[in-house]
Symmetry: C2
């Protein structure tokens, strides 16, 4: 059965979608079969992987609320070995609809459970979460085996981390006792910037081993790639961004096979 | 009565909080009396203006759900003429609590109405919104006279703009016929970057006059300032960020006094 990782951080714009796409693509390039579940009504991961608005007939909304099974909802992306369940803005009304259901925190867990999906031939499922600690994100944490936290090297981003860790602990105590922390990855890191150095030092001090050794640098090629519906690894394989995400994939695999 | 402006964009990390603080501070420096309502459970605007966790007894949550009046909830910040109603993570449960109320979309409008506030001695109220189109953001749009949209000069940020404009139109048709568009301001702009030039050109083409002439450049001093609980105008008045936000304030005032 695939390992399910929720990519979460309620702080906006920290690199959740970018990490889902590029870590996913780097693992796919190394031969792992990866699926992304786009759980954000903005649908950025779907766009970044080339799923036009016209190809979003079946979406994550259907997975959650219409009982659709994973294999029918999955679509192939431009990247071999990397598939995605796309999202549309329909998901933004999902929060209220989910709230009305009895199984409000386990809808995604059920949809991704082996009993519902059957054998899917996947190694990893990444869930790209919206920037909030709403029911959608809680569903992701209940469904996941672990959370991966992109941390932007900025002051406001560090502030939100303790709230996020509290929520992880709450989910662990109430709904998903096995929820682990895959790790924290520093994103958009600019080594020349005192603040960034401070955030890295702070994160290592408070979270120690949980912080990935690999740091993702700020690199304009990373932000250009989605406009060509490519991962940065395809768009510019020699870029600092590609090299960093490939290194992150190696470290991610090493941590999973300990 | 003060003019109420909601600073909105469901895309995360585009500069909503940074614009609320620094446009607010620039207007305050020019002698206008400005209040910020922090409507984001992350409470970044509150932190950026120096309101410690220990001083958040009365918050936006109380304004919305406990009938507290604006003058009791407002606190002074480190910046003269700039006050704030702080936020805590209590707000994240507000969405569900607001949903259960009959007046679910007008709670903030009522709280900021002249009948409830009485004379408050303010020229502008800025509402710093969370990165979502949830009930909190809808409340802000219903309470506001206009919306100000920070637009990051990036591919994913442009994608969300049409959805945001749809929501503004919906709110105008259902709950707030007078909701105007104050304007769209490009943020974190790097003139050397082809993508940024493209986003600016795209925005001007589709939104024309609505796009502020002033463009806010990416400037590390802007992101350092909140860690000192200062606006960038106080932290480094000669920085490119300060100069840009002062120019934005001038343009904002000129548009309001036409
Ligand atoms: N390493 C990087 N270097 C340069 N730009 C980056 C990098 N990582 C992400 N970006 C850009 O920063 C912006 C924010 O990243 P992204 O959209 O992935 O964050 P997010 O956390 O998914 O945002 P949201 O909270 O809205 O879901 C995007 O425009 C993206 O292209
Ligand atoms: N002009 C700028 N130059 C450099 N950094 C900036 C600039 N504007 C904002 N930032 C930084 O970018 C990050 C995102 O900005 P900010 O937090 O204001 O966005 P937001 O839209 O309020 O985010 P959220 O969606 O989480 O509420 C912050 O760390 C901020 O300091
Ligand atoms: Mg995202
Ligand atoms: Mg903010």
């Amino acid at each position: 059965q695939p390992k399910i990782v929720a990519i979460v951080n309620q702080k906006g714009g920290v690199g959740k979608t970018t990490t889902a796409i590029n870590l996913g693509a780097a693992l796919a390039g190394a031969g792992y079969r990866v699926a992304i579940v786009d759980l954000d009504p903005q649908g950025n991961a779907s766009t970044g992987l080339g799923i036009d608005a016209s190809r979003r007939e079946t979406t994550t909304y259907d997975l959650l609320l219409d009982g659709m099974d994973l294999s029918s909802a999955l679509q192939s992306s431009n990247t071999p070995n990397l598939s995605i369940v796309p999202a549309t803005s329909d998901l933004s009304s999902a929060d209220i609809e989910i709230y009305a259901k009895k199984a409000r925190t386990t809808l995604l867990k059920d949809a991704l459970s082996p009993a519902r999906t059957g054998p899917v031939g996947l190694d990893y499922i990444f869930i790209d979460c919206p920037p909030s600690l709403s029911l959608l994100t809680v569903n992701a944490m209940v469904a996941a085996h672990s959370v991966l936290v992109p941390l932007q090297s900025e002051f406001f981003a560090l502030e939100g981390l303790s709230q996020l860790m509290l929520t992880v602990r709450e989910v662990r105590q109430t709904a998903n006792p096995d929820l682990g922390i895959e790790g924290i990855v520093l994103t958009m890191f600019d080594g020349r910037n005192r603040l960034a150095q401070g955030v890295l030092a702070d994160a290592k001090e408070t979270l120690g081993e949980l912080v990935f050794d690999t740091v993702i640098p700020r690199n304009v090629r990373v932000s250009e790639a989605p406009s060509y519906a490519q991962s940065v690894l395809e768009y510019d394989p020699a870029s600092k961004g590609s090299i960093a995400y490939a290194a992150l994939a190696k470290e991610f695999v090493a941590r999973n096979h300990l």
